[in-house]
Amino acid sequence: MSELRADTITASDGTSPVTLTKQSAAKGWCTFDGTAGTPTFNDSFNGSSITDGPSSGDQAMNLTNAMTNANYPASFLGNARSQFGTPAGSHTSSSVCTIRSTNISDANTDNSFVQIVIHGDLA
């Protein structure tokens, strides 16, 4: 058994991303109440703020550190038999992850328990 103690790990060139064998860490996640007048994070990782609207059910998680492009994988979950997708069929940008939530009747509806997880590579 060996143990390495360190506060910061960087690739050997001092700047490049570290490769974790058989591991891929999430690059962002958050949880918030989308029905709030001004939604704020209950908790988040790499989230700077939430943009509400313009339509009901639409919210965006703005990232502190941007992804390399807008093609990163993201998953969503909420309560009340909800469904989630993206308004434009894609993420808004490398630093904005926009969701659209609908209720069981497929009507755009804010969800009170939104959870977002983002994977991929940071810029």
């Binding site: 143990e3 790990i9 550190n65 810029a123």
Partner: protein, 141 residues
């Protein structure tokens, strides 16, 4: 290319606080990015097919299952779960919805998450599914 082979990584200053370079210049907390729970299960058979830090299932009702974790989260506000579900029943209703079943104001305790599933368009009836995959991030106690 250099490689360090080690069995355990621990923060020197704080045990769970290790900063990793993850982009050209961006750094992030290693602990915050690592999955804390994942569970692939069959809610019809109430069987866990594969898991990390998930110890058992509780069948609350049809389409309503509670997953119990081995290691607890530090607070219910520091939990983030997403997931997907599908089913291969005789009616070929493969499109399934997954959402949280709330316990009062939250679907979480620090040791459990409660999940409900139903077929798309089914407004009143919850259904068990063959394939439910969930994963959770956040801070462990």
């Amino acid at each position: 290319m250099s490689e360090i082979k080690v069995d355990t990584l621990t923060g020197k200053t704080t045990a769970n606080d290790i900063t990793v370079t993850v982009g050209a210049t961006a750094t992030q907390s290693l602990e915050q990015g690592l999955m804390k729970v994942w569970c692939a299960y069959d809610s019809q058979a109430q069987v866990i097919d594969g898991s990390l830090n998930a110890s058992s299932l509780t069948d609350n009702a049809q389409g309503d299952t509670t997953i119990t974790h081995t290691s607890t989260f530090s607070a219910v506000s520091e939990v983030c779960f997403t997931g997907i579900s599908s089913d291969d029943n005789s009616s070929n209703k493969h499109v399934a919805q997954i959402s949280f079943a709330r316990i009062g104001s939250t679907p979480f305790t620090t040791t459990t998450v409660r999940v409900s599933t139903n077929f798309d368009g089914q407004q009143t009836v919850l259904e068990d599914m063959d394939f439910i995959h969930i994963h959770g991030l956040g801070g462990l106690a």
